[in-house]
């Protein structure tokens, strides 16, 4: 089987044009015509020269390449890269050829050079990938080519790419898909009325059938192709005879594999005779293969002499093109044929040749397979790498999201707590401030009272006293006063006395001097004495543990509290007996005011406490951080108990 890459079979018309161009090539070169117009024509040439003559190809392509690289124009660059591709491709340096052709394709796609894309770059890149064993990329390139051809409505190219894709599938032993694409190709060729391409499609289908072991179907496809070729005449470059030989050879293959060696022989001989008729366009590969196949079939028919005849021709052609596979096959068959002729030294020689070639080819094939596997492995690795990179990215993204979320929640939580704490602190601060404010107000009030009382007492009292003294002095200086004068003097003195008494009372009410001079217990004793002597009520006062004075503010507050409590009792309780006790415990002062009055509804009193005496008492107790407990039952008297904590200064 000739291992021909797909898509390398130019159609008749284009190939004819190439041939003419190539004929005129030496002229272009000789005249040194390098104008852009000619250059453009030249551009097309070298890429197609491969079909004709590799010796010219290299020469022209080098020349053209040099010229084209000077052109910065994208179109020329496409061709320059394409020619670089051709150079690597013919050297079987597929990694370079893939690279250059891919670049050429990129430029062609970017600048919408659809002809170059569909006729040059994609088919060639496909072949390059295909031959380097990278079927995945070959498939990618051709699939894109197929869809592009569909877009630009290029049926010819659609057929081509279907054919190519089918071929790739066949190579990968995806026979079902391969058959589908080949069928599509066939239909497109028929719709184009392109009988030649149609025959080509049939040949491909036949090849597929042979690979699948469907020999009869293969034979029917080949027969149809044969008819087509036979009905065609020589057209320019193309010779139907060459195609006929190809078909016959495949027929022979099919019959041989079927086991029908006699039928196979007829076709093989047809192919071989066509190969021997020096047909134009018949390449040496095919020629060698036809001779060798014919020889093999003679071997199969146990006709070693005929076999040797054809095999010798085959091995000669194969050696001229240094085709190792064909040499190997020919050597194998020659060994069999010579063995059949009982010429064992020759048989041994060819067998030895066969074995050596087989090993080296196997080694190379396996190396190629390894390369192919490596290539696909690389692709797989890359895919996995990308995948893992993607997954890692995803993982990182998830981690970042998770951390962000966590941080957000934590922050929110902390912020909330912070706010709550701030709020609490604010509340506390407010309360404290309120307390301090009340403190300050109460303290200031008490201070003010004290100051006013002392000022009144002192300044005004002293002035009144001084006035009295002056008045006495006046009287002494006037020993002989009239009765009227004397009477006026006494009235004036009396008024001054009254003023003094009034002043004393006022200042005492504001702030008793005893409190500031002698302390709480003395002041309370004084207070209670005064009340007892004026109101018809018995008040007992007892204190315990007040050898040392309290701080001024506490003293004033407690004094006010007691005053207020006694006032309440006198006003509301209708009590006859009151007991006031002030007892100093190690950590607090206990004040209790107990009466035998009618009692009252404390809860109700609390509701209307605002502005009342009770309200004042409560604020003062609160200010002293004390606790108040009112034990009262209507009809059974009241006991007010106040505990005030204190710290020894």
């Amino acid at each position: 089987m000739p291992a021909q890459a797909p898509g390398n079979k130019p159609t008749e018309n284009i190939e004819g044009v190439y041939r003419k161009l190539i004929d005129s090539m030496p002229f272009f070169i000789a005249t040194g015509l390098t104008t852009p117009v000619n250059l453009k024509r030249q551009c097309h040439l070298p890429g197609h020269l491969q079909y004709i003559n590799s010796r010219y190809q290299v020469y022209f392509s080098e020349k053209a390449l040099h010229l084209k690289e000077e052109e910065k124009d994208a179109y020329a660059r496409t061709y320059a890269l394409f020619d670089k591709f051709i150079k690597s491709y013919t050297k079987k340096d597929y990694s370079s050829s893939n690279y250059y052709c891919q670049q050429a394709l990129d430029i062609a796609v970017a600048h919408d050079f659809s002809f170059e894309e569909l006729h040059l770059c994609r088919p060639s890149l496909n072949n390059s990938y295909f031959l380097s064993g990278d079927y995945t990329n070959a498939m990618k390139i051709s699939s894109a080519g197929l869809s592009k051809a569909g877009q630009v409505n290029d049926t010819n190219r659609m057929a081509h790419f279907n054919n190519v894709i089918g071929y790739i599938h066949m190579r990968q032993k995806n026979f079902v898909q391969a058959a589908q694409y080949f069928q599509l190709n066939l239909q497109l060729c028929r719709s184009l009325n392109d009988t030649l391409s149609e025959a080509g499609a049939l040949c491909n289908l036949a090849e597929l059938c042979i690979a699948r072991g469907q020999y009869d179907t293969a034979i029917s496809f080949l027969q149809a192709a044969e008819q087509t070729y036979r009905s065609m005449k020589d057209v320019s470059f193309f010779t139907p005879k060459e195609r006929e030989a190809y078909v016959s050879n495949n027929m022979a293959e099919a019959y041989k594999l079927k086991g029908a060696c006699r039928q196979a022989l007829a076709f093989a001989l047809n192919a071989a005779s066509l190969a021997g008729s020096r047909l134009t366009g018949m390449n040496l590969y095919d020629k060698a293969s036809y001779y060798i196949n014919t020889g093999a079939i003679y071997n199969c028919l146990s006709n070693p002499d005929s076999a040797v005849f054809f095999l010798r021709q085959g091995i000669r052609v194969a050696k001229s093109i240094i085709h190792r596979e064909y040499i190997r096959d020919a050597a194998e068959q020659l060994a069999i044929a010579f063995a059949g002729k009982k010429i064992f030294d020759s048989a041994y020689f060819y067998h030895f040749l066969f074995a050596r070639l087989k090993d080296s080819i196997n080694a190379e094939t396996s190396q190629q397979e390894i390369l192919q596997r490596e290539a696909s492995l690389k692709i797989e690795q890359q895919r996995q790498l990308q995948q893992s990179a993607l997954e890692q990215q995803k993982l990182w993204r998830n981690i970042v999201i998770a951390i962000s979320l966590f941080a957000l929640i934590t922050l929110g939580f902390l912020y909330n707590r912070y706010r709550l704490r701030q709020k609490n602190r604010y509340q506390q601060e407010m309360n404290q401030q309120q307390n301090e404010l009340f403190n300050a107000i109460a303290a200031t009030q008490d201070q003010e009272r004290k100051r006013i009382a002392e000022d009144l007492h002192d300044s005004l009292g002293s002035i009144l006293s001084a006035a009295k003294l002056k008045l006495s002095a006046l009287k002494e200086s006037q020993p002989a006063m009239s009765v009227d004068q004397l009477a006026n003097y006494h009235v004036a003195m009396q008024l001054l006395d009254e003023a003094s008494v009034e002043l004393r009372n006022i200042s005492h009410n504001i702030m008793p001097a005893t409190l500031s001079k002698l302390g709480l217990v003395a002041a309370l004793r004084n207070l209670i004495n005064q009340i007892t002597s004026h109101a018809g009520i018995q008040i007992y006062f007892s204190s315990h543990g007040f050898e040392q004075r309290l701080d001024e503010h506490s003293e004033m507050s407690i004094y006010r509290i007691v005053l207020e409590l006694i006032n309440n009792v006198i006003k509301h309780a209708e009590a006859s007996k009151v007991t006031v006790q002030l007892i100093r415990h190690p950590e607090y002062i206990n004040l209790s005011v107990e009466d035998n009055g009618r009692g009252f509804d404390y809860e109700n009193a609390l509701k209307i406490k605002k502005g009342s005496g009770l309200g004042n008492i409560l604020s003062r107790v609160e200010y002293l951080k004390g606790g108040i407990d009112v034990d009262t039952v209507p009809g059974r008297g009241t006991t007010v108990i106040i505990d005030i904590p204190y710290t020894i200064a």
Partner: protein
């Protein structure tokens, strides 16, 4: 006859001058110095010989009460007459306790002042009529206070029930008072009698004849 050497202490200059001019006509009196506060008084008595010191109570810095205390301590020979507007019983009794010889209210006239000085120079006391009354009243009430038992009526009731091993709850129910009030009374009783526990309290009560 030697003149009586006087020191007049008052934070008001107008009053000091008034008293000085009032006493100028008295041939037996000689105002040695005047002072505006207690510290000046203490300094002056250390340098000069003084027989009688007329002291106001309300003075900045060292007030009359503190000055009187210091004078009695450092110069017990000097007779002190308080000349003040204060007629508070506690203040009067405090000063009497300190040992002042006289206590005049500022509404006293010249005659009273002169009489007071002469009287204290003879080693006797002189109090304005009003002050005298307050002192006497205080004495009678003091006596009454002393007879008042250390424990109030209610406290005695509580103690009796405690002696009967009543719990606070039972006492509260029996006396129609709250539990907290009972607790307060109990604590106050303990504090006043300096008893540490119920046994100590009962012992105290028997010793004082409060329980029989």
């Amino acid at each position: 006859m030697t003149k009586i050497k006087l020191l007049i202490a008052d934070d008001h200059r107008i009053l000091r001058d008034g008293i000085v001019s009032l006493l100028q006509s008295e041939e037996l009196f000689e105002v040695i110095a005047t002072a505006a506060n207690g510290y000046e008084v203490i300094n002056l008595v250390a340098k000069k010989e003084i027989d009688v010191c007329l002291l106001d109570i309300n003075m900045p810095g060292l007030d009359g009460i503190e000055t009187a205390k210091l004078l009695k301590e450092k110069k017990p020979g000097i007779k002190i007459i308080m000349l003040t507007t204060y007629n508070d019983r506690e203040i009067i009794s405090e000063l009497v306790h300190i040992g002042v010889a006289g206590y005049l209210l500022k509404n006293s006239d010249k005659q009273e002042l002169v009489e007071a000085v002469h009287k204290v120079m003879k080693g006797r006391h002189y109090f304005s009529e009003e002050v005298e009354e307050i002192i006497l009243q205080g004495l009678t009430e003091k006596r009454m206070e002393e007879t008042t038992p250390a424990l109030t009526e209610r406290e005695l009731e509580v103690m009796h029930l405690l002696a009967k091993e009543y719990t606070n709850e039972k006492i509260a129910a029996a006396l129609h008072i709250s539990y907290r009030t009972v607790e307060t009374h109990r604590k106050n009783i303990m504090q006043k009698t300096k008893a540490h526990n119920l046994a100590g309290l009962i012992k105290y009560a028997y010793s004082k004849g409060l329980l029989k």
